[in-house]
Each structure stands twice: as structure tokens, then as C-alpha cells.
Amino acid sequence: MVPVLQVEHLRKVFPVDDRRTLLAVDDVSFSVAAGEKVAIIGESGSGKTTIARMVARLTDVTAGRIFLQGTDITQLTGRKLREHYRHMQLVFQSPADSFDPRCTLGDGIAEGLRNFGWQKQAAWQEMERLLMLCGLEVEIAQRYPHEVSGGQCQRAAIARALALRPKLLLLDEATSALDVTVQADILALLARLQRELSLAYLFICHDIALVQDFCDRVLVMHEGRIVEEGTPDEVIGAPQQTYTQRLIDSVL
């Protein structure tokens, strides 16, 4: 069966100045199967977010290839890339910043539907359904991002990400800006949505405890490379690499 996401030998080099470069991601390969929850963990600067941004095609890759449902999207641009965004959405770390401050949450959620040809009324009804699916009141559609709490905004961001019925959600530190109780609520919501909609998650995170309960497979990143891979029990219970052990010791 074709994986939802397959990444082959991904590499990203950022220019620092005229002479120096920074190797952010070095020869990273992995895949995410349909309905699978994969986490990428690692310390700050290890290249996790760069991978998510490259997969989402928000940052160009230096080398390597990205396959989304079997199609190479590495070099896609314009209309063809927009079509593929139907299958993949990103939930950002800062929920309030991920909505246009001048648009209501309802407009933000319905925007993707409108872009893909939905009529205004149908898009609005679907948006209301998505809000309820994500445990929000319909009235929140009329609010602006700065008028709701971080948890409500992140639920709305998840509702927007689900609007195009994607197969893969990229969750870039999607719970780290929220307090602990709200984090638990959002994780419960994500778990329920995953069961109901058979979504695949690529979970970018540095909270090992959270990964242990939530994910099927864990990739540990260090200095741009994947240094360890396995189930949460394997990686966290019996780490093979010194770096992974250090990472676990620093958190648990």
C-alpha cells in the first residue's frame, strides 16, 4: 500500500552569509502510512520544523524528494501544488497567529472550501459542522482570533485544517503554546479525529511524555539527522543512542 507521505534523502542547507552555510536537515528518509501517528522529536534546532515546512512546501528543499500519496510534490508549484494541499494540511504552533487578524474564525475556516469551489452558503454550513466536530460552539465563527482563548483558537485551526478533508495532518508543536489542561483536551480531540477520520499525523514535538501516549512511531532527530527510530516503547523504554538517552533524561 502506498504510504500517505514518503520522504527520501531530504536535505536542507540554509545560507548563513556569503561564505558559510548551515546544514539543517541531512539525508532524512521516512514514511507515514495511512492512519499512522508518527512523531519527530529532538531538541530545538535539530531540524524538526524545517522538515515539516519542507513537507508542506513552505520551504524549498535543497535535495531529496517528497511523495504525497505516491506523487512527487518536491518541485510542484502553482495550481498543481494547490491541488495537493487538499491532501495535506499544517497546524501551526501559535494558534492566534495562524488566523488573519482581520478575518473572523469562520471566514478563515471556510476560506479553503471557497478556494476549492464551494458555494458560500454550503461552505458556511460545512464550517459550522467542522466547528462542532472540533468541540466548538457555532457562535465562535463570528469572533476574531484575538477574541478567543488559545485552546479555542487551536481547535478552530484544527477545524480549518480538516476542511479540505486531508489524509495527512502536520502538527508543528501544535500543543506546546497551550497550558497543560488545554494540551490534554487538544490531544484527546486529535485522537478522536484520528479514529473517526483515519487521519495520518506527523507530530513535530519536543515533549517526550506526550509522544509516548499518543504516537505509533517515533523518529529522534539530532543535528539534522534521524538518529533513532521505533515505537515509543522501544525508543523511550530502551534507547539505543546516547543522544536519545540524554533527551529522555532531560525531560522525564
Partner: protein, 282 residues
């Protein structure tokens, strides 16, 4: 959101609305007065009567008369048309033109961006008024040439501002989310970029109305703007500057008109900036 926070926001918004209505109303009155200036003049602003030349302010001539006996109040009112509309035309043009160039540069990137921005740097590096003087001197005097000269040196400011604002917006998560929601570049620019960068551009334009009015008046003062006998505040001050010590009203009247107009537009600009702040939206 707590009830107290909502109440504070509502009070602030009401206060802002009153300020906006007040200064907007004043600016509207000024523009309307300029538009209907020919009907509002008590006397013909061009009619000379040497018998009453340099007359002091009186019940008949509220602001006195100039050296040719022309009623100063009528000339100040008539001068508002040229002074205000040439300024609005100039500011409107440089705001739209400069912003479009800036947005285009930020969107296209690469060598086109570099080329146009270096060109803008060249304009910015040159002393503005000296360049305007040179342009006006080459093209000759007149209001149209003065507007052209000032437009030529003023657009880069808006291009730079629009470009930097758009580049900053492009990096924000909501722009990336909109991109992933399938927005085309044109929709991204029209729906998300322009509304979010319009605030700083509009405020800069509002505050520039005063500056440009002064610069146009300055060029006219130097003889490169409106030609006599067309009434224009800058040229009126220039014509009458040697009477400042003996008959100050003939110089101070157009000067006060410039001061008042600049002040109204500046205060309106400040209020519009506060009004457009998303935090004060409700």
C-alpha cells in the same frame, strides 16, 4: 474574554469613533470648502483695487488686502482649491503607485526586486527638495510640474514600506495557512496582504498630506509651483514675504491656512492609525 476587557474595548472603540468622526468631519469640511471655494469667496480673488492696497483687516476685508488691493480672505479661500487638491492628487498617486511597485517587488523577488529597490535607493539617496527643484527647473514652473517633481522623489518611500510590510506578512503563519488553504497569489495579495498592510500605508499617506502640502508650498514659494496670479498658499506667502514686517496679515493668513490644514490631516492620520489597529477592532 472577560466582561471587563470587552467593556474597555467598547469604550476605547467609542472614543476612537468620536475622534475619527471629528477629524474626518473637519477634513471633509476643508475639502468641501476647497471644492466650492469659488462660490465661498466674498470678493473676486483676482480683482485688483490699488486704492485699498495693503489695507489692514477690517469688517469689509476680514484678512485685509495684498499689495494689489485683492481681498486676502477671498485669495486664501480660492487658494485652498489648488493647495489641497494638488496635495491630495500627489499623495494619492504616490501611495498607490509606490505601494503597487513595493508589492510587486516583494511578490516577484529575485533580480526584479533587487533592480527596482536599487533604483528606489538612488531616489532616496538624492536630496529630495534639490531633486524636485532640478526636475521643476528642467520642466519649468507650474503646479503640474511641481506635482510630478515631488511624485518622482516620493514614491520610493511607499514602495519600500509596502515591500517590507508584505515580506513581513509573508512569513506569518496565517499567510502560510492561507497558502495551504489553496489561495492563489492574487487572492493572497488582495484578501490578506493588502488589508493587513493598508493601515501603515494609509497612516503614512495621511501624515504625508501635511508634509507634501508644505513641500508643494515650498516649491511654489521658490517660484517653481503655481504661477501668479493663481492663488496658492505657498506662492501667496512668497509674494508677500517682504511685507511680513509691515503688513504681517498678508503673509500670516496663507501660512495659518497651511498650518491648520496640515494639523487636521496629521491628527486624522493618527486617528486612522489607531482605528485600523486590529486590537481596537471591537
Amino acid at each position: 474574554m472577560s466582561e471587563v476587557t470587552v467593556r474597555v474595548q467598547v469604550v476605547r472603540r467609542d472614543h476612537l469613533r468620536r475622534r475619527l468622526l471629528f477629524f474626518g468631519g473637519l477634513a471633509g469640511v476643508l475639502i468641501l470648502a476647497a471644492f466650492f471655494s469659488s462660490s465661498l469667496c466674498p470678493y473676486d480673488p483676482y480683482e485688483q483695487n490699488l486704492a485699498i492696497a495693503k489695507a489692514a483687516p477690517s469688517a469689509e476685508h476680514w484678512l485685509g488686502t495684498d499689495r494689489y488691493g485683492r481681498d486676502m480672505l477671498s485669495r486664501v479661500i480660492a487658494g485652498s482649491f489648488t493647495s489641497i487638491f494638488s496635495t491630495l492628487l500627489l499623495v494619492g498617486f504616490i501611495t498607490v503607485f509606490g505601494s503597487l511597485i513595493g508589492i510587486f517587488c516583494a511578490w516577484s523577488g529575485k533580480w526584479i526586486d533587487t533592480l527596482i529597490m536599487r533604483l528606489a535607493d538612488m531616489f532616496l539617496a538624492f536630496p529630495g527638495l534639490v531633486f524636485a527643484l532640478a526636475v521643476a527647473a528642467v520642466l519649468g514652473g507650474g503646479v503640474h510640474n511641481a506635482i510630478f517633481a515631488l511624485a518622482a522623489i516620493s514614491w520610493p518611500k511607499y514602495a519600500r514600506l509596502a515591500r517590507s510590510q508584505m515580506l513581513a506578512q509573508q512569513e506569518l503563519p496565517y499567510m502560510q495557512a492561507a497558502k495551504m488553504a489553496g489561495c492563489t497569489p492574487l487572492r493572497l495579495i488582495c484578501r490578506h496582504v493588502v488589508p493587513n498592510i493598508a493601515g501603515p500605508l494609509l497612516v503614512t499617506a495621511m501624515l504625508d498630506i501635511g508634509t507634501m502640502m508644505m513641500e508643494l508650498a515650498g516649491l511654489s514659494f521658490l517660484g517653481l509651483g503655481a504661477k501668479p496670479p493663481i492663488p496658492e498658499w505657498g506662492s501667496m506667502m512668497s509674494d508677500t514675504r517682504n511685507l511680513l514686517a509691515t503688513q504681517p496679515w498678508v503673509t500670516l493668513a496663507p501660512g495659518f491656512a497651511i498650518f491648520l490644514s496640515v494639523m487636521i490631516f496629521n491628527l486624522l492620520g493618527d486617528t486612522v492609525r489607531d482605528w485600523l489597529d486590529p486590537k481596537n477592532r471591537r
